[in-house]
């Protein structure tokens, strides 16, 4: 009972924040200098053409009215028309989103499968060479700009060694699988198209790893820190004192409480993955939201920019909500705090 109340309040709050975000971006986009209609039509457009476009885009109406039309449109699924593609931004996003989703999901896999074990190992061998090695790795991971990682990976694996492709999601010769979800890996598995699967996998390795570097560093360090914090706790000493063997203590009694801080940071890791995606998609010419979004920004296609921003904002707050729920599920202390708040 109490938990669903907490959930409802969080959802309401989330919606409010998103609305606030939409207002913020809308205001920035519409009130600041630069004439998008002129930009969209190019320098040779006549004044009349520009005026027509402005009327078509409803840019002559007062700001709050524009906003209202926009917001009500959102709830109908109408994200406005893109200046460039002249179709509903929602369609554009639906087209480009799966590529980015797939990329980010695989990156998160990297972060969990590499970051956590590295952190555990570092805590286990605290202050000895594995700990220092992981520490160095973590520092490097956080300090290297993701686009640099992408370029370096490209340089080594594509150009020098030639074992992995440079750009794109699929090779030019490979037939794409039938589109169910838009996620190539899933689609090719469903349809049994294994050559496409292999190709898709080989294409996604480098960019997803480039995106994951920051996250791996963050999670490894955090896991190491929280593992070593938990290790010095009284209850761990007590459970050892009761004769529970070290391996059980480590993997069960230390890991569970130690996983809370990394879990809470997962939301932030997801944020950095999204940011990194923008940079890495450019390096690997990945046909995803980032590419679409950046083009929209350079061409001042405001509806497209708003659409991208809102979707990313939505994804971000949803992920944070999931992380909060999971934390409450694992740690009863957090659950209590949530119910009391």
């Amino acid at each position: 009972m109490k938990f669903s109340y907490f959930l409802a309040r969080r959802l309401l709050y989330t919606i409010l924040v998103l609305l606030g975000l939409s207002i913020l971006i809308f205001v920035i986009a519409r009130t600041l200098p630069g004439d998008p209609a002129r930009l969209a039509l190019g320098p040779f457009a006549s004044k009349e053409q520009i005026e027509n476009l402005r009327r078509e885009m409803e840019m002559d109406k007062p700001l709050p009215v524009q906003y209202w039309t926009y917001i009500t449109g959102i709830f109908r699924g109408d994200f406005g028309l893109s200046f460039q593609t002249r179709r509903n931004v929602a369609l554009d996003i639906a087209h480009y989103l799966p590529a980015t989703v797939e990329l980010v999901l695989v990156s998160i896999l990297w972060v969990l499968l590499l970051g956590v074990p590295l952190g555990v190992m570092a805590a286990r061998y605290k202050d000895r060479w594995p700990d220092n090695a992981v520490r160095v790795l973590a520092f490097v991971g956080v300090a290297v700009p993701p686009f640099v990682v992408g370029l370096v990976l490209q340089l080594i694996f594509s150009y020098l060694l030639g074992i992995l492709p440079t750009t794109g999601r699929l090779g030019l010769m490979t037939a794409a699988p039938v589109r169910y979800t838009g996620l190539l890996i899933v689609d090719s598995l469903i349809t049994g198209n294994f050559s496409a699967l292999g190709d898709a996998l080989s294409h996604i390795i480098l960019p997803s790893f480039a995106i994951a570097m920051t996250g791996i560093g963050q999670i490894a360090r955090l896991t190491r820190g929280s593992m070593s914090d938990v290790a010095s706790q009284d209850y761990i000493e007590a459970s050892r004192g009761f004769g529970i063997p070290n391996r059980v203590v480590a993997f069960k009694y230390m890991l569970k409480p130690a996983s809370i801080p990394p879990l809470t940071v997962l939301g932030l890791t997801f944020a950095s993955e999204l940011s990194n995606a923008f940079l890495v998609e450019t390096v690997f010419a990945w046909p995803g939201m980032a590419k679409y979004g950046i083009r929209a920004i350079l061409r001042k296609d405001f509806n497209a920019v708003m659409g991208v921003v809102l979707i990313i904002g939505l994804a971000f707050v949803v992920v944070n909500l999931i992380v909060d729920i999971l934390s409450g599920y694992i740690d009863p202390r957090i659950r209590k705090r949530q119910e009391e708040a």
Partner: protein, 302 residues
């Protein structure tokens, strides 16, 4: 009021100073024992030095800015040009050092604007509470609802790409982190007993803020600023890489990498050396910030 009370505030000052000096001493002890943070500090000092005296340190200071010499373009690293030359014929090493100036300037401007602003708002929100707090923190939440880079991109969307617009964009979101940090600290200290005791003794709000709250914020803020410097430079490089920050022919590191990436893999030096430079600068700040965090005993998560 008894005559001895006149000495009491004095003694408190001395005691505070002694405690502060002791803390500094301990902090330095811990810091200097940590090899990694010393390396970070050295790196930062080195790069700042290079950037500050760029004019005197670089071999071809006139290559900065809009310089073209197509005869000399695309030369690989050699004795004359340690890092080779770029597509316009300028010495890469020189441009990297001048480019780091832009990075440091970015960090300085962004943090110089956003930190005081954020700290002020955080204090306000944490101390006054009530409606003010709610409004400020909700606005903070809105700004934080997007990852930093994405938010900066969205703001840059409204302007024509240029370095100062990029700085403005990043500064306009950065204050939120410091606001949150200071707000949290203020709130937790405000409820401590010694603050209530001060109030009972008649201390004014300002006094409490300056005497009790701000000193406790000092360490986390210092650590955060150091780490932020690296992160701001990272975001700035990302923006330039995407074409939204410094525009060519300015020698921003991100822009250099973006241009250089078109010439991979044959003319690798145009990409590799600026990448190395920016990596080392960011790494230096991260190591330094981490060491400070250890030395000043601030918790992780800052």
């Amino acid at each position: 009021m008894m005559p001895s009370d006149q000495h009491a505030p004095r003694k408190r000052e001395d005691a505070r100073w002694a405690a502060f000096r002791d803390r500094l001493g301990r902090g330095w002890y811990k810091f200097s024992r940590n090899r990694i943070s010393l390396i970070g500090g050295a790196m930062v000092l080195f790069f700042v030095f290079l950037a500050s005296f760029a004019h005197f340190v670089t071999p071809y200071p006139h290559h900065a800015g809009a310089y073209t010499d197509f005869m000399n373009a695309f030369k690989p690293p050699s004795a004359a040009h340690w890092f080779g030359t770029d597509s316009l014929g300028a010495d890469v090493l020189t441009r990297i050092i001048f480019g780091s100036q832009i990075s440091f300037m970015l960090a300085g401007v962004v943090l110089g604007i956003s930190v005081p602003f954020g700290v002020f708002l955080g204090l306000l929100a944490g101390y006054i509470g009530g409606k003010t707090e709610t409004i400020i923190m909700r606005i903070t939440d809105i700004f934080l609802s997007l990852p930093a880079l994405v938010m900066a991109l969205a703001i840059c969307a409204a302007f024509t790409p240029s370095i100062d617009k990029a700085m403005l964009a990043v500064a306009s979101i950065w204050w939120t982190w410091h606001c949150r940090l200071v707000h949290g600290i203020t709130r937790s200290i405000k409820t401590e007993e010694f603050v209530q005791a001060s109030r009972v003794l008649g201390a004014s709000h300002l006094r409490i803020i300056f005497r009790d709250i701000l000193p406790n914020c000092a360490s986390p803020i210092i650590v955060k600023i150091t780490l932020d410097a690296g992160f701001v430079i990272l975001v700035g490089a990302g923006l330039s890489f995407l074409g939204l920050g410094a525009q060519p022919p300015a020698e921003d590191l991100g822009t250099m990498i973006s241009i250089g990436s078109k010439y991979l893999p044959e003319r690798w030096w145009m990409t590799v050396f600026p990448s190395l430079a920016i990596f080392l600068i960011i790494l230096g700040f991260n190591l330094l910030g981490d060491g400070l965090r250890d030395a000043l005993a601030v918790e992780e998560g800052v």
